[in-house]
């Protein structure tokens, strides 16, 4: 790349720019790295999000076949009577109606190992359960048109429980046409289904990632106790209307009106949107970090530019002396910034797309959504490119102005200019003020979630900049404070080295700043991760409570509770059930919400709650038992601006009903799905549901976890197909999930640290080269090579110490700011957990990293040739 630059003819000032970039290639690479990291993070995150959405929507496109409209009940997962079909038949535009129902179960042979897999969105991961689709073979031929790759398709009148399986799944289970698949059913125990044909894993066959079978509607209705209820209707519409979006919308409205508000008439693709919605907070979180990383990158750019300017003071002074105007000097610096911005952004965009490849695999891993390719839009790339270039220019603007202020006299000075006073002065004037202002913006100004990205990350940049300006004010006192410690490690040479950091304050400041940024990123990220995890654990311990959770792939009968209580070693049991609903908040748009029913009688025996607003827990239970009441989490309360005493409307099987809020609790904010918690009585009354999703069990003092688990699984479980998960197992699962989700952020912190280390190498090498003569002098006075090396290392160690100190201080602020950002963006309400361990470790890393980075410069210093050095200019 650099060789090419030689081709630029020597008749434009640009040549000065390129020659400088080449001469300081290390610095140039560092600046590029800053840009690349920022832009790559942006592109990677955006492309990952887009790819996820694209994959989801193409998934639902494929699975919905030729259908143009989809009819379901307003509360999803509910069934409706078959005469609905007759109402739709009245629309002549509707050519085909394909009804369907779904029974969710698992194969009998998997019952023992089954546990619920949760995704980052708090929803079940596709593919953990087996879906038995009830279909109408005649209508399906028109709508989905699947064909049998082995055996035959179903007919309208099948004798017995005959099914089709997806070929790949059948192969996985070692099943062939003519053999049986045994599944669990809610009331008939284990039932065998005869496989009569196989279909390929495409079209309808990709439903639930292919873990599915197709039976007739009657079969599924019978096996899953559904009466004659249907789950969905897929409609194929006259092509003339289907191809005209406004005509289709009109038809959709008419059908919706006819069916009434217990039904939802949707476009098939909207199912994808619902699924996509469960990722949205995580995606926004990633977005926030990608913007933050761009700004941290920009700080790196600022840092290297500022350092280069400090170094080139004499050269720039000379330019000024021989006739360069201030504007030309600014151009010189900005031209460098622009060219680096363009190159770095281009590389960054490429690197980002590569990163997106592995990132989509991560997302795919914890969401269960297969993402085969990275897709992005030209706008995204263009946006990232221009952001990269713009941020580089902005970051270089201050050093450029600084460069323009260099006086031509500084070129004539015998000693390289003493800028010490200036750094301290600027620091005094702007440092504390900038820090204060940025803190005020971050903590005191309530920001809309739309702008918080930009204002927030700018404030972070300003805070780091202000902190940098404060460094020259504090290095003096700090250095004296830690000198005894340095003396202890490095002996008397340590004194010389340690006090050397005050000599070129500009350089020291920027090196300490680079370390500070690296360390504070690590601590900020660790603090956030820790807070997130602690909060989740708190949730596991209080809201979930219990020592064991008893679940089943099928919902459980309520009498399991009495049977569990009868077992030895169990003192208390409480049940809960999730049902889908919609929430209609007073001032906001309605959205999907889960209604979680608990038993107020037994809840507090096993679980507990942290009440933010409302009466004590016992009173909350009393009011909940009275009915028409719910409690909600702080995140929802904040989002919809709700308080105790307010009413919200929920969609139930009996239509929309108002519920009064009796408490606002500190819930785990990390769940993506909006949930409200109500009583068992209301569940029965308004949703007509009596079965149970989970039993939380409290063990007696001294009871053995393993024994009770074995008893439940073997005795009760055999007939009920129950599985038991201990709290420890569940915690482990949650931890793993959060570690996975945060791994990307850790990489960012590591990059920050690396950059800090490079900064130290750079500075110490510069210091050594600049002080050759002095080092030669010291050698001639009788200092040994070893002593010289110790002196240099002591200087670096002092910087590491101070950088670590600053990093720890501002990293803690950063962690807190990240949490504020998360709250504003996603409604996660987390309390900051100070990451003491990470602080201690990072501080140590800063110290050791600085010493390690100075090893080579120290060695170089030791090699000084006395005679050469004294001759040196």
């Amino acid at each position: 790349m650099f060789r090419l630059l030689n081709l630029i003819p020597f008749n434009s000032p640009l040549v000065l720019v390129f020659r400088n970039m080449r001469a300081r290639w290390g610095r140039t690479a560092l600046t590029l790295l800053g840009i690349i990291v920022g832009v790559a993070a942006m592109v990677a995150v955006q492309a990952t999000n887009q790819s996820t959405l694209a994959a989801i929507s193409s998934f639902f496109d494929e699975a919905s076949g030729k259908s143009d409209l989809l009819v379901e009940t307003a509360v999803s997962n509910e069934t409706f009577p078959p005469d609905t079909i007759n109402q739709i038949r009245r629309f002549p535009e509707v050519q085909t109606i394909a009804p369907g129902v779904i029974g969710v179960t698992i194969p009998a042979d998997e019952a023992a190992q089954w546990t619920e897999q949760i995704s980052i969105g708090g929803t079940a991961v596709p593919g953990t359960n087996f879906w038995l689709l009830g279909r109408d073979p005649t209508a399906d031929a028109d709508v989905h048109g699947y064909s049998a790759s082995a055996g035959r398709l179903l007919t309208a009148n099948e004798d017995g429980y005959n099914i089709l399986l997806v070929a790949d799944y059948a192969a996985d289970k070692g099943l062939e046409v003519g053999e049986d698949l045994a599944i669990l059913t809610p009331s008939q125990g284990i039932v065998s289904l005869r496989i009569v044909g196989l279909i390929p894993e495409d079209g309808l066959g990709i439903t639930n990632n292919g873990i599915m079978g197709i039976a007739t509607i009657a079969t599924v209705q019978k096996l899953f106790d559904m009466g004659d209820g249907l789950g969905s209707l897929e409609l194929v519409v006259d092509p003339a209307i289907a191809n005209n979006s406004s005509a289709l919308e009109t038809l959709r409205g008419q059908i919706a009106e006819r069916l009434g508000r217990d039904f939802a008439v949707k476009y098939p693709a909207s199912r994808g949107e619902t699924v996509a919605g469960t990722f949205s907070t995580y995606q926004q979180g990633l977005n926030f970090f990608s913007v933050v990383s761009l700004f941290v990158g920009s700080f790196l750019i600022y840092n290297t530019f500022a350092m280069t300017i400090v170094e080139r003071t004499r050269e720039i002074g000379m330019y000024r002396a021989i006739g360069m105007t201030r504007r030309q000097v600014i151009f010189l610096v900005l031209a460098e910034a622009i060219s680096l911005g363009v190159i770095g952004s281009l590389i960054g965009a490429g690197a980002g797309l590569l990163m997106a490849r592995s990132l989509t695999q991560t997302v795919s891993g914890f969401s269960g959504q297969a993402i085969d390719q990275v897709t992005t839009t030209p706008q995204t790339l263009l946006q990232a490119l221009s952001a990269g270039i713009l941020v580089t220019i902005l970051a270089a603007a201050m050093p450029a102005l600084q460069a323009a202020r260099i006086s031509p006299i500084q070129a004539l000075r015998v000693q390289g200019s003493s800028d010490e006073g200036r750094w301290r002065q600027t620091g005094l004037r702007f440092g504390p003020l900038t820090v204060l202002a940025s803190l005020l913006i971050m903590y005191r100004v309530p920001l809309d979630s739309d702008v918080i990205f930009y204002v927030g990350s700018n404030a972070i940049f300003a805070m780091l900049l202000g902190a940098t300006l404060c460094i020259p004010l504090i290095t003096g006192p700090l250095e004296r404070l830690i000198r005894p410690f340095i003396l202890l490690i490095f002996g008397n040479e340590g004194r010389l080295g340690s006090s050397n950091i005050q000599r070129s304050q500009g350089r020291t400041t920027l090196t300490v700043a680079a370390l500070m940024v690296g360390i504070s990123m690590v601590i900020g990220i660790q603090g956030m991760t820790l807070s997130f995890e602690t909060d989740m654990m708190e949730w596991v311990n209080t809201a979930l409570g219990g020592d064991l959770f008893v679940q089943s792939p099928l919902n459980m009968r309520p009498d399991v509770e009495a049977r569990l209580l009868a077992l030895e070693g169990i003192t208390a049991v409480t049940r809960s059930r999730y049902v889908p609903s919609r929430i209609f908040p007073p001032y906001d748009e309605d959205e999907f919400s889960a209604f979680v029913a608990i038993d107020p009688e037994t809840y507090l025996d096993v679980r507990s709650m942290r009440i933010q607003e409302g009466p004590p827990a016992e009173e909350v239970m009393r009011q909940l038992a009275a009915g028409d009441t719910i409690w909600i989490g702080v995140d929802i309360a904040n989002r919809f601006n709700l308080h105790v005493g307010d009413e919200v409307v929920l969609e139930t099987r009996r239509g929309r009903r108002p519920f009064r809020i009796v408490a606002i609790v500190l819930d785990f904010g990390g769940g993506e799905t909006t949930t409200v918690t109500g009583s068992w009585g209301d569940l029965r009354r308004y949703f007509g549901v009596t079965d149970v999703s989970v039993y939380a069990v409290r063990l007696a003092e001294g009871a053995s976890l393993e024994e009770v688990t074995a008893v439940i699984e073997n005795d009760l479980g055999r007939s009920q197909s129950l599985t038991v998960e201990s709290k420890a197992e569940f915690e482990q699962k949650v931890r793993q999930l959060s570690a996975q989700a945060f791994s990307l952020f850790d990489v960012l912190g590591l990059i920050g640290l690396t950059v800090g280390g490079l900064g130290v190498i750079n500075t110490m090498l510069m210091n050594v080269l600049e002080r050759m003569r002095e080092l030669g002098g010291l050698r001639s006075l009788g200092m040994t090579r070893r002593q010289i090396r110790r002196m240099i290392l002591a200087e670096a160690a002092t910087m590491g110490f101070i950088g670590g100190l600053f990093g720890v201080a501002f990293g803690t602020v950063l962690a807190d700011v990240f949490l504020i950002g998360l709250r504003a963006i996603g409604g996660y309400v987390l309390t900051l957990q100070t990451p003491y361990a990470a602080m201690a470790v990072s501080f140590g890393i800063s110290f050791v990293l600085a010493i390690g980075a100075a090893l080579y410069p120290a060695w170089r210093a030791g090699q000084v040739n006395i005679i050469e050095a004294i001759k040196h200019e």
């Binding site: 008749n11 020659r19 001469a23 000024r320 002396a321 021989i322 015998v414």
Partner: protein
Amino acid sequence: MSVLEANKVTKQYQMGEVSVDALDNVSFAVEKGDFVAVMGPSGSGKSTLLHLLGGLDEPTAGDITLANRPISKLSDDEVTIVRRRKVGFIFQFFNLVPTLTAAENVALPLLIDGQNIKKYEPKIGQLLETVGLSDRADHKPDQLSGGQQQRVAIARAFVNDPEIVLADEPTGNLDSKSGTAVLELLRQFCDEKEQTIVMVTHDPRAASYANQVVFLKDGHVIQNLTIGQRSGDEEDIRAIMRVMRELEL
């Protein structure tokens, strides 16, 4: 007609509470073709004077006229353009750009001025020949000796045909042989091209290459000595040293 005129120039530096008079009411003129040496003890204000004359700094009081332009009254951009086109600088530490070759360093002022360098190639070649470095045109500064570097800097100072060349101890960092070569070059430019030069120096032998020596002490011009034009003339050196003794410099 004076190329350069300083009229009652004063420069004060504020050092916290105390103010230092680096120059006090100095008046001074340089005619076209003059080679002026400025001498004086350390701290007498020599460098300060040179900075003011070259428009690198502004006087606290008084006027400076350079090439008919009142530079003490111009904006920074205007003074910069004057420096660019009318002034050449030679520094004690050469101040070559390490990333540029000798020829490119010479061309730098033209580059900054936005000139088409191609057009000036013969001139740059000629200047390099004058300073005896034709064979070193493509060398980078770190491949040149100190004396060679300073000769490149001299070529650079003259490339824009300046009205005046200002040099602050140009031989201060050189051995005597290289120093002599540099001084002879300056004398040669003065003789052959009628170039005007003001040079600060400590060294009476260096000063003897000039035809006028200005003595500064405590910010005042205390003596103005006109000497013969023969370079390194022993008699001139003795005359300069006599004045120095008299003035207790």
